[in-house]
Every structure is written in structure tokens, then in C-alpha cells.
Symmetry: C2
Subunit: 462 residues, 2 copies
């Protein structure tokens, strides 16, 4: 697709749609919207615009579509695959002014939000109502961005990914028309499911302008456990048995020994440097969690666990939880002068030991600092490499390892991306993963965005 | 769309695709495929064909598409909205010969199945592996039919509808090409979600020829409770609080007094004839369930429950479970000479008292026997009317009440169908429920099935 550059005249028209101060061609604004938290190189848009309502989004898209100006949406900028980098330049729509929580219907376990709402802010507002929006990608992500990437995180094993928690969407399509889909009942079998077409489409099919999200009752009690195993195999077997037993963990994370070393150093945990499961359980009472832990301990003992440390007490529990949540940050601050690349794949649970072993073997083979961990209960693996800034050789090596792990994951029946999306980095694996169905994805793109103005250069290779 | 009648020549070609004995134009075969379990009138196909593999489905569709022969798929024939009635005649593809469980990967919590597998048969085969496929529409439904209708049931509140339990699909499209989509990892953010486009599309976008379904660990222990309340309002408040508390019931059903009278009569339950909640809990140990019941009882007491009967003991529990499962059957056998129509809507949980009150008021206003119950935890209401066979006036009245309840559900933010699908009966409500997005559903239909040969006359009004 041949796009047009943004002209002075375009800027004038866009100014008349929003307001003079809500469109910018200033260098610092362009720079701030040229790069997410991935390793992908920065690319500047030609202008950034901040709409305040659906009508403005609609008018912007209608104009951009008829003038063939590429449009990329911007949420929190926290994605990890270059998803919002405006690779074809053009216009970035920054949705941060659309950050209103429109309505909380607590009796329905629902909230209506604008796309720029940061999910932690929603949860902060909900905390006294005994409810929360469960998907937790970790970073300060916006709900619009989470919908675009089908974000998930440590609690997905119990509460589902973003996909499972969206009931209704208002989407502005490329031509500026508004599509409203879904309903407020928690289930429906009425017509085609358009919601799930937009969730995970990374802003390539439309701009999410409003969402009704599903809320979940916040458990009265939580407990956490850290359990070490002699090997990955035993840890993997325990993961299977915990899921099979119906214990229903709220998180079930694996941490390779290098992560444990880091915890010991940073948090003084004195854990054995071994493969470790980190688990969280939610329940309605202490007694309930106590019973859960007894069964959990029996299962872990059955697979020869070495240390089983539970944290029912608030202080210890909070420490354990925080340590896991801070892991990525901890890794980054341990390696000044280096930047991260986060490898993200998911495989069937039985293949988890194979993929995690491959990842650890690759880490051992190189001098580049690497940390293996993941959402074991979902078969989702992360490997964070800390590459030296500007060292092309190191970054090429990291790229090779990424390719090897992704290709292995796909060959094991898994996916190129468990939760970070395709963005730029995973486009080259789409044909391998999806085969002939990739063509149908392209047909759907063509149907909704015939001029291909929406986030061009993502998901599909040009 | 103008379709062609099936000719002698067509039959010969179709015979060459399958085998002479696997295509029939015999009256009894046509009759058996002219009607599901709904009240919608029978319409005969011109021929019924029984493919045995994907290649045969593909060749049948390719031929039908190029000769403009309408094609409707047939699973278990247990649907309740006329979903598989061949309203344009043509060819019915009966998938009952494709009933193989192809592979059970217990370590991955997955099974590969053909579309004709009956879900109870899969669960029977899984019972010694500690796993099950959770969606439970009740009737002897095929998994293909469940996918087509996004079927759900009593346990959806905990384990999700069919939609939540499908990982991968092989779909034969109208032109005979095969589309394979999804992966074997339990989560992914890779490309557009095509699976959810096919789930719930009632065979109008393609023929599901193979599915990878998600399995869940079968709980070690179950317990059940029957709790009566002075009024619907109190029962509704208890439903909200049970969900909010994180107790995580495996079913949370409401039964209006007329259902309780029936239970008392048929099962000698001696329950007070009052609004009643029927609950099931799944957990890893007796202690765990015991604790759950203590909290549950506290919640129900808080809303003035009258009777709280728990069934931890296997015999009593099984009786309670069976009574709920047999309810529809019980209703039918109580009214000889009459046939059922099952009204199915879903609303936001807070609107459940309003919709259930409307349903009960309508039952009281008429002499036609009617039973109100539903999956309260999901806001899903059913009203079963037993209309006198051949009594046009009664059936017209039932139709009016259905319209009134569906329109009310939609106006409350709900949906025309919680789990039975659109089929024939709910088509007229689609514009009201979906507004402008209905046109996009039609565009997707056009994209995948340009000749509109697949289950014509369903979901969309002609």
C-alpha cells in the first residue's frame, strides 16, 4: 500500500477535529511515540494526536482513510514486540486522554471503560468493592492495549487472559464508522463473535474506543508458596498434578535457578538455587487455604520437592508476591549498560520441560546474561536476555536464539507468542504457525480495513 | 440466493464421493433429519449423506458449492432453536459416522475429536484419567453441535462455555478447502482469533471436521446444596454474594416454586415450595468442601434462607444432582399430549430478578403449564412451556410470551439467547440485539460462504 505523508493541510484539518493543542509535530512528542519497551528500533510518527471521545476518533480515522494516512494507536507504550511502533510513520493516536472509568456496575461484575484506562487504576478504584479486573500483564498497561494484544500474566491460569474478560466493545473502524458488539450478560450464543476478532488484533482491524470488562470477586484470602525441586522434570510433574487435582491455583510460575540466585541476592530469601515453583492461591477463608496447602504439599512431596515454604502471614506473603512481580525490573537493574529482550512462547504443558530445557541450554551456551521463567501452568515461557547496548554481535546471537526457541515452540504444537503479540518481531513466524489460515486472516483485514491504514506493518509481513 | 434441487445426477456424483450406502433419499432418513428437539416445524432435506472423513466432507462441499445445493450439518439433533432444520431443503450432512476420539493427550489436558463424538462418551472414556470436557448442555449433544451453538450448561459458571474449551479447529469451508486454526498451547496472542468466529456460527461459515478440546481435572470431591429462600430477591442477593466471595461454585442454579413442587412429587424431596438455589461445589478434599459449605451457609443465612440442605454423602448428593439434570425430562413426562418450548435468554446478573419475575408473572397469567429455572450464576433464564399439541391458540400465546421475554432481556442489556443459539426462532431479534454490527456478521458470512450454501436461513432473516 502506498501511503501519503502528512501535510500542513492535513494538520490543519486534524486540528479542526480535535483542538490545536491536542495534535503535535514536536520532536519530543514524536520521540515519545516512536518506541515501546521492546528492543525494536525507534521509528517516529509524523504527528501525534490525542482524541478525547469516540466522535473525534471517528473523524480522525475517516480523514486518514480517505487520505491514505497510516494510523497507529498508542496505549501505555509498554508492549514488548514493537506492537505500537509506527513503522510506516503517519499518525499516532494516543488514547491517554480517554482514560475515564465510565461506570462500575458492581452487581453485574462489570465496568465500562475508555481504552486509556490503566488496569491498575481500575483495580485501585475497585478495591473497596471486593472486585477486580483480573488480567495482569505487569507493566502499567492500558486496557485498550491489553485488548489489542490479548494481554495476560501470572493470574491467567485461574482468571483467563484479556480475551476471557471482555463482554462488549465499541470499535471505530478504518472508515470512521462505529461498530458496537457484545452484550452485558456473561454468556451469549447470539450470532458471530466479533469481540474476539478485535481482541488480539493489535489495532489492525479497528480502534477500541470503549469496552465493557468483566470483573471478578476479590478473594477474601490469599496464600503463596515457594517450592524448590531437584530438577525441571519433577517441577513439571508437580505442575501437572496440581492442575489435575482441582486445586485451582491463582498463579503457578516457574523460575529457573538463575532467577532464584537473583532473589536470594536482592531479597535475602536463602532459597536453594534450584528449579522453583511459585504459587498463589485465592480462597474465601484461612481454613480453606490451609487445607489447600496441605494437599499442595502432599503433591509436591510426591515429586521430591526440597523446600516448601508457605507464606500465609501477610508480610511474608506480600514479600513473595512482590519478588515475583519485580523480577523483570530486578533483572534490568542488575545489568547496567544492557537492554532486555523478552522471548515469549507457549507450548502444550507436556512440552514445557522440553522448551524450558532448550532455553536454559541456550543461556548456558552464551555469556550473555539470560533468565528463564514463565507461567508454567499455561505452558508460557519467557527468557529475558540482557544484551549489551550497541553490541551488534550479541544482539544477533540473541536474535538467533529467539528464532530457535520460537521455531521449537511451534514444532511442539505451541505458538510464537503466548502473550506479547506478533507486533514486528513475530511476523516472520506467522506462516509457519498458521499455514493456510494466515490467508484468511489477511482476508479479514482486507474486509475491515481495505486501505490498510490501521497499524500497517504489524502481524503480517509486508 | 437461488438454490438448485438435488437431481439424480447429483446423487450419483455424491455416491461416488462417499459410498452408495452412505447417502439416502429414503423417507425415514429424511424425516429423521427434518426436526430437532425444538417446537419448530419439520422440513425435510432432499438427501442425507454420512461422510467418514475430512476428504469426503471437502468433496461434498466442493460439489454442493459449485452446484448451488444448500447444505446443513447434523450432529445429535438435540438443539432447541431449529438450528439444524434444513429450511431450504437440499443436503443434510450427518456427522455421526465421524465419531472417533482421535487422541487423548492427558498430560496436556487435551483431546482431539471428530465432530460426531457425543460429549458424554468422551467424558466416559476420560473418567479413569481424572479429566473431563466440562461443557454440559445436558442432552446427548455431539461436540460438533456444541461448537456450532457455543453450547453451555449448569457448570459453565465455573468451567466456561464451549467457546472457552476449544483450542484448535479443522474446518471445511464452503468451497471445500480446509482451514486449520489455533494451537495446542493453552494460551496464545498470535494473529486473529478465527476459532471464536466458527464457534457459535451454527454451521453457517464452515463444517467443523476436527477439534482439539481443552480438558479439566476432575475434582476429587463434589458436594451439593439445595437452599430455599422466602423470595426471588433474597435468592438473587445470595447468588451475587456467593460469586463475589470467591467460593467458585461449579453450578449455581435457580428453580422457581413450580419446579420444586415437581421435585417433591417425583423425588419425594419434601422441600418448601419456594424459590430455591441448587449449588454444586468441586474441590480437592472433603475438608475443603466442608469449609466451603460453612461459608456458603453463612452467606445464605445472611439473606434469610429457610432451608439449607447439603448433600456431602454420595447417595444424597447424587440424588440432588440427578434431580436437576432430569428436570426437563421430568417436565415433559408430567404433561402427556403436550410439547415443550424452551425460552432461553440471558441478562446481566443484577437484572436476573427482573427477568425471572417477568417470566413467573407470565406463567401465572396463563393456564399453559410453565416452569421457570435457569443458570442463575450466568444470568441465564429458561422458561419451559408445555403447549397442547395442535392447539394453535396456545402456541401463539407461547410465541407472544417468548417475544416479550426476549425483548425485555435485550432491553436489559442481555441477549436473545444464552446458550441455544439463534437458529430459526431468534433471527427476528438479531437486528434489535446487534444493531449495525449485524451487517458486519453478514459481511463475514459473505467472505467465507459467498454462495450462501451453508445452513441457509439461519441466524439471519432471509
Amino acid at each position: 500500500m502506498q501511503f501519503n505523508k502528512i501535510t500542513q493541510r492535513d494538520i490543519k484539518v486534524l486540528q479542526s477535529i480535535v483542538a490545536t493543542e491536542r495534535i503535535s509535530i514536536g520532536e519530543s512528542d514524536l520521540n515519545l511515540h516512536s518506541k515501546d519497551q521492546s528492543q525494536h528500533p525507534a521509528i517516529s510518527p509524523e504527528a501525534v494526536i490525542w482524541p478525547k471521545n469516540i466522535k473525534e476518533i471517528s473523524d480522525i480515522l475517516s480523514y486518514a482513510n480517505s487520505h491514505l494516512i497510516p494510523v497507529t494507536c498508542w496505549g501505555g507504550g509498554s508492549s514488548l514486540e514493537g506492537n505500537p511502533i509506527p513503522v510506516c510513520h503517519g499518525l499516532v493516536i494516543d488514547l491517554s486522554y480517554m482514560n475515564k472509568i465510565l461506570e462500575i456496575r458492581q452487581d453485574d461484575f462489570q465496568a465500562d471503560v475508555e481504552p486509556g484506562v490503566i488496569y491498575q487504576d481500575l483495580n485501585h478504584k475497585l478495591r473497596h468493592k471486593g472486585l477486580f479486573f483480573p488480567p495482569d500483564p505487569g507493566a502499567r498497561a492500558t486496557i485498550g492495549g491489553m485488548i489489542a494484544n490479548n494481554a495476560s500474566g501470572t493470574r491467567t491460569i485461574r482468571y483467563g487472559s484479556t480475551r476471557s474478560n471482555i463482554l462488549r466493545l465499541s470499535v471505530v473502524l478504518a472508515n470512521g464508522s462505529l461498530l458496537e458488539t457484545g452484550c452485558r450478560s456473561s454468556k451469549t450464543s447470539s450470532g458471530y463473535d466479533l469481540i474476539n476478532l478485535f481482541v488480539g488484533s493489535e489495532g489492525t482491524l479497528g480502534v477500541v474506543a470503549r469496552a465493557t470488562v468483566r470483573l471478578t470477586g476479590l478473594s477474601e484470602m490469599l496464600s503463596a508458596a515457594i517450592v524448590t525441586f531437584p530438577g525441571l522434570k519433577e517441577a513439571g510433574q508437580a505442575v501437572f498434578e496440581i492442575i489435575r487435582s482441582g486445586l485451582d491455583p491463582a498463579s503457578l510460575e516457574i523460575l529457573a535457578p538463575e532467577c532464584i540466585s537473583l532473589f536470594n541476592k536482592e531479597k535475602n530469601f536463602k532459597l536453594e538455587v534450584l528449579p522453583t515453583l511459585f504459587m498463589e492461591f485465592h480462597g474465601p477463608s484461612q481454613q480453606y487455604l490451609h487445607d489447600t496447602m496441605i494437599i499442595n504439599r502432599e503433591i509436591c512431596n510426591g515429586f521430591g520437592c526440597r523446600d516448601f515454604r508457605i507464606g500465609i502471614e501477610r508480610k511474608e506473603r506480600d514479600e513473595l508476591l512482590m519478588a515475583r512481580y519485580e523480577l523483570s525490573e530486578m533483572i534490568r537493574r542488575t545489568h547496567p549498560g544492557r537492554s532486555h529482550m523478552v522471548i515469549d512462547v507457549a507450548v502444550p504443558v507436556s512440552a514445557y520441560p522440553a522448551i524450558i530445557s532448550l532455553a536454559r541450554a541456550e543461556v548456558k551456551k552464551t555469556a550473555i546474561p539470560g533468565y528463564v521463567f514463565g507461567h508454567a501452568g499455561d505452558g508460557n515461557l519467557h527468557l529475558v536476555f540482557m544484551g549489551k547496548n550497541g553490541d551488534k554481535k550479541e544482539w544477533a546471537r540473541i536474535g538467533q536464539i529467539n528464532d530457535k526457541i520460537v521455531e521449537k515452540a511451534i514444532s511442539l504444537g505451541g505458538t510464537a507468542t503466548g502473550e506479547h503479540g506478533v507486533g514486528i518481531g513475530k511476523r516472520k513466524f506467522m506462516a509457519m504457525e498458521h499455514g493456510g489460515s494466515l490467508q484468511w486472516m489477511k482476508s479479514i483485514k482486507q474486509l475491515f480495513d481495505p486501505n490498510e491504514i490501521l497499524n500497517p506493518g504489524k502481524i503480517f509481513l509486508p
